[in-house]
């Protein structure tokens, strides 16, 4: 065990960085470029702390603890430096929180509130990139970018795609794709990991714009219906309608990562063409019920309920099995089903029907 002092309080810890130990002990240190899912890089200088014996302030997110260390996380020197960094960032940031999509869950906004930075003392050039709406799914409003590089690191460390990088130097440094093309022309796969980690409104979900801020929506945890991996995420619901998908960082299967379908493919939920009740062929219905049945918008089909539909299907399957034996039947399942669902289907085929004719499309 290592014994150190944070703000004069004696703390024992097994190891880790100053930030890890402080957070584990309920000591607040602000961060901006730090993200729990990404390797720390010490760039944003918001987590600066005073380490006794060091000439300059040190970033808590990368500085490992050591025996006898004496750390101040909230001294006047530290607060001044943090406020200074926020004033600088604000001097290069549009002050349009009123219309910003991220207002309410913007980490820069929260810190500026915490440090009471009403105005910046710096007057000068500001980046004036027009919002880049050329790409599907992701809207890049780069004048809100604070160059924390979370997006670059997520693209590299989580997704291993490396579509994003820094280009240029100094004030002209910016996050870009190779050769600064639009994202469609890069090797971006639109998984949206960059959007999920962006602390400001620089990267946002294009289709969710204007549909509800963080405090106007409720988060509903769910499992992605697209494939058998079983990724969890949060549906952001406003007035009974899904408006956005956000990462659930504690999800066991995907740990916050998603693919383009899971993150951006939710519009089908409220599509008028979406089937919401089972349909049965009109001829089949007549054969079983002897009536015309309720009309449906689909030619040749009637709408029914699950019990009726399942009974009808089971009855027809049993009839085939009795007439021609179990091998007259075959079951093809879908990769969109979960492992458990696929297991149950093969159990149905092998045990209940008695055939080995069970297969799987094994692709999306």
């Amino acid at each position: 065990m290592t014994i150190l002092a944070i703000n004069g309080k004696k703390i024992e810890a097994a190891g880790g960085t100053i930030l890890d130990v402080a957070r584990a002990n309920g000591i607040h240190i602000p961060t901006l470029c730090h993200h729990a899912a990404l390797a720390p890089q010490g760039a944003c200088r918001l987590c600066l702390v005073e380490v006794k014996g060091m000439r300059v302030l040190q970033p808590a997110c990368t500085y490992p603890i050591s025996e006898g260390m004496d750390v101040q996380t909230d001294s006047p020197k530290v607060r001044t430096a943090r406020k200074f960094v926020l004033e600088l960032l604000l001097s290069d940031h549009p002050k349009d929180c009123m219309t910003c999509e991220t207002c309410g869950h913007c980490e820069l906004q929260d810190l500026i509130y915490e440090y009471g930075v009403k105005e910046t003392p710096f007057v000068g050039d500001r980046h004036l990139f027009p919002p880049d709406e050329r790409d599907p799914f992701i809207l890049r409003d780069m004048e809100k970018c604070i160059r924390c590089r979370r997006c670059i690191r997520a693209c590299d460390e989580i997704q291993a795609v490396n579509a994003l990088t820094m280009m240029n130097r100094g004030f002209r440094a910016k996050v870009a794709t190779a050769f600064d093309t639009r994202m469609q022309d890069s090797n971006c796969i639109f998984c949206g990991q960059c959007v999920s980690v962006c602390p400001t409104g620089a990267l946002t979900e294009k289709d969710s714009h204007g549909k509800g801020r963080d405090w106007q929506t409720t988060k509903v945890a769910t499992t992605c219906p697209y494939c058998g991996v079983g990724c969890n995420f949060d549906l952001n619901v406003r007035d009974g309608k899904v408006v956005k998908v956000t990462s659930a960082w504690n999800a066991p299967a995907n740990k916050g990562a998603l693919c383009v379908k899971g993150r951006f493919g939710w519009q089908f939920l409220h599509h008028p063409d979406r089937l919401t009740t089972p349909l049965m062929k009109t001829s089949f219905w007549k054969e079983i019920k002897g009536t015309e049945g309720a009309p449906s918008p689909y030619k040749g089909f009637v709408e029914t309920d699950w019990d009726t539909a399942l009974d009808a299907a089971a009855g027809r399957l049993s009839a085939v099995r009795s007439a021609d034996g179990p091998d007259a039947l075959a079951i093809l399942t879908s990769a969109k089903c979960t492992n458990e669902e696929n297991y149950l289907m093969q159990k149905l085929a092998r045990k209940e029907i008695g055939t080995n004719n069970i297969d799987h499309c094994a692709r999306l």
Binding site: Q41, G42, A43, C44, R45, L48, V56, L57, Q58, P59, T62, Y63, P64, K77, T80, A81, F84, V85, L88, L89, S91, D92, P121, F122, V123, G124, D125, I146, R147, R149, T165, M166, N168, R169, G170, F171, R172, A173, K174
Partner: protein, 540 residues
């Protein structure tokens, strides 16, 4: 390679050198040491053919490597520590200590399972300070001394692979290294089992892509790894986790070039030069308003006055010395009161500047200190890697304020903001580039506050640099009417009869300064404009 063979090559090559009169470059190109100079690092430059290893061997080359391979690595480290050799890249970290830390880290870790090198030695030849070309001279003129120094350092710290990281802007240095490496390998002075002592070491060249920040060791390591060069926070230090996560020592070209000499002549000889804490010699690139600009090598502890006046020959055109910028864009401007301060690592830091890699730019009365600070800030802002906001955004704000002041748009509030910025940038930045970027502003504000105030309050640049903030006046009691200014004036706005006092038509004068330079009698003075012009159009 055996010592006998090495001695045979030495004897033969000495013959060639003697026949050529102990020099390689023709007269005029090779300047002999000026009085006060001591050449250790530059000893062979210009004397031997850098493309022939035999000539380096004639100058006792690779004998130090043979000598140290009979010592233990610990003895090599101790001897280096005893010599007092400190890193010549700017920070002045003791070289022996650096190797010791890397060796210690190496001992505490298992070797890589895939047979990759356990540790690395990197030679930092990414010399980026404007006007500095010490490393270039050594790499171009005596590449083998650097390679031998690298082999010795590698043996001490336990590295088996070395890299020379050299700027792409130094094509001759790259060419000479590319020639030197196969020669050393052919003679078995690099490669496997050197001198039959079981020591393996080889060197590759990595060429930088032109980023100043890649001279910072962690950014340099990123660059060798094939990524964008950006400094990483320390710890972990490169000695513990450097190139590919292995213990790495990054040493400057000049540091490494000193190493063979320390083992040939002994640690005591080296420690006999310099001051108590800064031993040996240092190369400086003198530039600016000095008569004998160029590269010099002097013992540590020499004063700036000796460098500028004795070796440098004094200020050009009989002007007054105003300040000297040491340590490049991250160093500071020291005024005349520091002329007699000994130049060593500690004294320069105490004065608010840096040793840096050894650039020394001399400024005279016609250099505006605000403009000098603006110039360096322009450089630093352009070269900031863009990683931490205090640097990429803070230097931009500094540059904007300095630019405003030099365009007669500055306010007194700007001076306060400058101080606020410099204080915080230096404590909050990630690497030495950001932390040091403010030094030119801090030192010029400390020593030349009056100039800043004159720029802001009176909109007057007394050095005659900031356009629109001064004009020229002919002093009636000094002008003898020689007419030199009148003839030189491109716009013909100077009027006056022969032998009579001349006058400038201020309304039409473009303030080009030709008259000021032409006047031999100091009869033209820089004076405040009655109405300063701001927002001048940008032009070259």
């Amino acid at each position: 390679m055996t010592i006998e063979e090495l001695e045979r090559i030495r004897t033969e090559a000495r013959q060639i050198l003697a026949e050529r009169g102990e020099r390689f470059l023709p007269d005029g190109e090779l300047k002999p040491p000026r009085p006060g100079e001591v050449r250790v690092v530059l000893r062979n430059c210009g004397q031997i053919d850098p493309k022939r290893i035999e000539e380096y061997i004639a100058k006792e080359g690779y004998f130090a490597l043979h000598k140290i391979l009979n010592m233990t690595p610990e003895q090599v480290i101790d001897e280096t520590k005893r010599s007092g050799l400190r890193g010549r890249g700017g920070a002045g970290f003791p070289a022996g200590q650096k190797w010791f830390f890397a060796r210690q880290a190496l001992a505490s870790r298992p070797a890589p399972a895939d047979g990759a090198p356990p540790a690395y030695l990197i030679c930092n030849g990414d010399e980026g300070d404007p006007g500095a070309f010490m490393d270039r001279a050594v790499l171009e003129g005596d590449p083998h001394s650097v390679l031998e120094g690298m082999a010795i350092a590698a043996y001490a710290m336990g590295a088996t692979q070395g890299y020379v990281y050299v700027r792409a802007e130094y094509p001759v240095a790259v060419e000479h290294l590319q020639t030197a490496l196969p020669q050393a390998r052919r003679l078995g002075l690099l490669g496997k089992n050197i001198f039959g002592k079981g020591f393996d070491f080889d060197v590759d060249i990595r060429i930088g892509a032109g980023a100043f920040v890649c001279g910072e060791e962690t950014a340099l390591i990123d660059s060798i790894e094939g990524r964008r060069g950006e400094p990483r926070p320390r710890p972990p230090f490169p000695a513990v986790s450097g190139l590919w996560g292995r213990p790495t020592s990054v040493n400057n070209v000049e540091t490494l070039a000193n190493v063979p000499q320390i083992f040939l002549k002994g640690a005591d000889w080296f420690a006999g030069m310099g001051t108590e804490k800064s031993k040996g010699t240092k190369t400086f690139a003198i530039a600016g308003k000095v008569k004998n600009a160029g590269l010099i090598e002097v013992p540590m502890g020499i004063t700036m006055r000796e460098i500028i006046y004795d070796i440098g020959g004094g200020i050009l055109n009989k002007k007054e010395f105003k300040a000297a910028q040491t340590g490049g864009p991250l160093g500071g401007c020291l005024p005349a009161k520091y002329l007699d301060t000994p130049i060593d690592f500690e004294s320069l830091v105490a004065a608010g500047s840096l040793m840096g890699s050894g650039g020394l730019i001399v400024l005279d009365e016609n250099d505006c200190m605000v403009d000098v600070a603006r110039f360096f800030m322009d450089f630093t802002q352009d070269e900031s890697c863009g990683k931490c906001p205090p640097c990429w955004l803070g230097t931009k704000r500094l540059l904007e304020i300095l630019t405003r002041i030099t365009r007669a748009e500055g306010t007194e509030k700007d001076l306060e903001t400058l101080e606020y910025l410099t204080q915080n940038i230096s404590t909050a930045s990630l690497c030495a580039l950001g932390q040091g970027s403010v030094n030119p502003v801090v030192t010029t504000m400390r020593h030349f506050r009056d100039e800043y105030e004159a720029h802001v309050r009176d909109k007057f640049c007394s050095s005659g640099v900031c356009k629109g903030m001064f004009h020229y006046e002919i002093l009636a009691d000094t002008c003898n009417g020689c007419g030199a200014c009148r003839l030189k004036c491109p716009d013909k706005v100077i009027k006056g009869a022969k032998k009579a006092v001349h006058e400038i038509d201020q309304a039409n004068c473009i303030v080009c300064g030709d008259c000021y330079k032409a006047c031999k009698f100091a009869a033209i003075a820089i004076r405040p404009r009655p109405t300063p012009k701001s927002k001048l159009p940008e032009c070259g």
